[in-house]
Symmetry: C2
Subunit: 334 residues, 2 copies
Amino acid sequence: MPLTLEDIAKMAHVSRSTVSRVINGDTNVNEETRKKVEDVIRRLNFQPNIAARSLAAGRTGIVGLVIPAGVTAIFTDPYFPQLIQGIMKACNASDHSVMLWLTEADYERRVIRQILYGGLLSGVIIASNPIDDPVLQALHKSKMPFVLIGRHPNLDVNYVDVDNLNGGQKATLHLLRLGRQRVATITGPQNMIAGIDRYQGYCQALQAMNCPLRPELVVEGDFTEESGYLGMRTLLPHRPDAVFVANDTMAIGALRALYEAGVSVPQQVALVGYDDMPAAAHLNPPLTTVRQPIGKLGAAAMEMLLEIIRQPKSPTSHRVLQTELIVRMSCGSS
Amino acid sequence: MPLTLEDIAKMAHVSRSTVSRVINGDTNVNEETRKKVEDVIRRLNFQPNIAARSLAAGRTGIVGLVIPAGVTAIFTDPYFPQLIQGIMKACNASDHSVMLWLTEADYERRVIRQILYGGLLSGVIIASNPIDDPVLQALHKSKMPFVLIGRHPNLDVNYVDVDNLNGGQKATLHLLRLGRQRVATITGPQNMIAGIDRYQGYCQALQAMNCPLRPELVVEGDFTEESGYLGMRTLLPHRPDAVFVANDTMAIGALRALYEAGVSVPQQVALVGYDDMPAAAHLNPPLTTVRQPIGKLGAAAMEMLLEIIRQPKSPTSHRVLQTELIVRMSCGSS
DNA sequence: CAACGGATTGGGAGCGCTCTCATAAATCAT
DNA sequence: ATGATTTATGAGAGCGCTCCCAATCCGTTG
């Protein structure tokens, strides 16, 4: 039913080869012939069979996007959709398509196999939250071009990231400069680089201001609302007067705990979040937070991947985007 | 570099055909032979080339997921990730893969071409928000198996949906039964079926309770926070004592408008939202809302699609999931 | 004992495309 | 005018798989 190269060739009175040349932009085609063929293609709405092309040529114009499904937090805040949107924009612009893989542990081996040996992908973008993600490991050992979203502490891989260290630092410094004495933090999971880096930023800010790092003012969360709520309850007895929460979703949970405990924000406890999710501006009080350019991050990843596919042997490349502190009322600065 | 059927065949001392049979679960294989072949496959981590299989057999095990990118609201609340997650779960379980397409208007024609003529897809799930989505139209005219998420008022197509009419009805009735006299609504866009149905539910509830439908108590939003805020400001002069807001994101906006105007919730104005997004429980006051089983909806869509792929000529099938009213404080019922 | 049938297996064709090579036509240098 | 080079096109092979048909083997049956 669908048309083939041969059909187009017949209609344009040329050979299959010539049609192929036209489609792939080969320069060795007579201008007139090209016009003729392009005409037929447009008129019949012809689309070359992707599978056949893939088989014959090896390249496919399809990139994989791998997201670990274990991270439930990803599905409660808009990080993930924004990321995808950024990637897809860049994809559309470069005439590529995306295959999506949510890797649940049960299917991990299959996913790896399909990605590496299925022969369908030109490259992969992997939003690898856990540092020791098996898919990442497999990818790293293979020669499949790929880009990691979020830097990796040990592996020498291509990545794009936001400057989480600096972001955590900015947030904490802001609270410190406002005169807060006991600045606590609810961190992200310490097996994810974003969680680690934001926490390191917190530590460095304390150091820079000559404040002691009090272990009782540090609790680890996992980016979920629930863990923010519990974290805040753990923190409360130690009387913090400010908290840097490593993402907005946890900040919402923290806010709930504070509200229940009758603690006023920002008077008694100031709060700074991270992400600037849309709801942040509309919390009560509006949340001061660190904004990260998530859409841009996705687009940057895609651009980098295309570059790597084009130039497979180039040295690993990194791209780090900056964050911005959005001051609202929860930090009590105004 | 990657292995082929032929390689496996050689190692197992059988023919390419036999290996193919084993892989595809053909019963006409000697038990012993099967074991032997499966062994080699497992040992070498062999994965048949998807492109080649697709080319030879026509079927691919890949389904397309089409989401119109125009709908910005999709990216501010977790509807979309939850949907994807539901679909992917069903996909993993059935050994299928997903290609993702966000259709921006600029690339619509290309997307349609690739989906229909690329030869790579076994079927398509389309979350068609606008009723007159061109991709939907094209799909409907083609013989590509597809399932629509959200029913369609005119087209006879396969779909899964939640019972938005009933949901809107339940929410409105709840307010009415609480004794509210002037129940307003901020609707979703009236070119999306979800927006339409929830509004119809509102109308039917009024009717059932013999309340007049007052046009000044109805404003149309577009599912964004901003439109909820503006909608509420439009409504305020007409002194509603309750509002059914067609999604939680708009409810957050409405809440902000009420807060700014110094109107107390739920004392002066009661509020019910729709979606039960995770933040809903943590707003101030916690939001009464209609919960829909989004993940299940995605899984149901995938299951239906698999069914249709298997039985292409069966009559169109529909599946409607029910909603649940989650009562919290914003409706003032307790 | 020849003919027969089912259970297994192997081989060939072909899916629609790209790529290399051969050919033909056109251009250039000598 | 002849050979050499460039430009434009076509033909054939082959990517890795599935599917169909033929071949083989074995146990049955008349």
